[in-house]
Symmetry: C2
Subunit: 216 residues, 2 copies
């Protein structure tokens, strides 16, 4: 029924976005929603939404649109790990702490189960109920909790080293905030968040728009 093989990176990103809107609708007791409404909320087109939903194998109703609850359930079944996915975070610095606070506000299907740092001064500290552990305990904690996904928030020059540790501990998904392209084996998926690049993109296009408006 579901062909997970053919799904792309981008589609998954959009599905995750649609879900946020559905959550909102559900909280407001809205029962049904049309593709164009979802599209609007995510800044995409309605055929795009229908196409994406099609991949899930979920069918809407031509008169009522999609059933909010049913679609949410379908998305959860598709995107989420049954029983929830525990994530570890390495790097208890400025960004690490912000992320802990952020995740503590999210739904519990995604939760940070442990935080690690190699600075002795930080080990043992607790933020939002999460205690910072020593890197020495990384492999054992990760394996005990069956952790598969790690967030990397250490300085760039420590990132590869840390990623190697993660991979050795059985992690096969990394969200990398450090300014490095990690070298990992093919069975590890890496997603990179590069804020400098994001800002440079905004600067570029903002300037471009400005120039187009002043002299055409």
């Amino acid at each position: 029924m579901i062909n997970r093989d053919k799904i792309s990176d981008k589609t998954i990103g959009r599905l995750s976005q649609y879900r946020r809107f559905l959550n909102l609708l559900h909280e407001n007791k809205v029962k049904n929603v049309f593709s164009y409404q979802i599209a609007n909320s995510a800044g995409v087109t309605s055929p795009q939404v229908r196409r994406d939903v099609m991949l899930l194998g979920y069918n809407g109703n031509p008169a009522k649109g999609y059933n909010v609850e049913a679609l949410m359930e379908c998305l959860a079944h598709y995107l989420d790990t049954p029983g929830g996915e525990g994530v570890v975070l390495v790097g208890f610095g400025n960004l690490g702490r912000a992320l802990i606070s952020y995740f503590s506000k999210q739904r519990p299907n995604l939760s940070i189960v442990a935080v690690f740092d190699n600075d002795p001064a930080l080990i043992g500290r607790v933020i939002h109920g999460v205690r910072c552990c020593s890197m020495e305990d990384f492999a054992s904690v990760a394996q005990q909790n069956n952790v598969r996904v790690g967030i990397l928030a250490v300085p760039a020059d420590q990132a590869q080293l840390t990623a190697d540790l993660m991979v050795a501990a059985g992690i096969n998904g990394i969200l990398n905030f450090a300014l490095t392209t990690l070298q990992v084996p093919p069975h590890v998926y890496v997603e990179r968040v590069d804020i400098t690049t994001s800002v440079e993109k905004v600067v570029f296009f903002a300037r471009k728009i400005r120039q187009e408006r002043t002299l055409p």
Copy 2:
């Protein structure tokens, strides 16, 4: 010579990445670099790099590759605003503070010139030499410093409101960290950083890889 019209979002992102590697090479006094080396550092293919560089109008040398300094200069001329671009940040919370620390370590061509918050308890506080100002001063500070780009790090329910303020103050590029799709006029470019979606992507593909490895 340069056709800025045809350039895509993705290309700009890659150019920004290439630049990071070039900076590194330059610091290490490396004079020349081949497309495949740049490609390697950014996790893309070498034809991709050559194609992207082609758009800049810069020409390499078949025997020596690209001249590091010349290419850097070309990139700077293309991506950067002459005289540097000042950026403002709204939201002096966990994420805002992490961002200030992050930008204080970056090259000075991109700098945060002012930070704003609406919490009276935060106004006047200084971090990394940047003082938190009241939202009331937003328009005047932004206009005095000729700011065109803003970073949005306020709670989701305040994001649209804040974006409207930014747009009214003449900003036409926004980096949005809040979990909302902003409604802005067409002359404003918005780039969104959505960490929940990023994590969900990693979780999904990590799980997919796992499943493919255990039962193929």
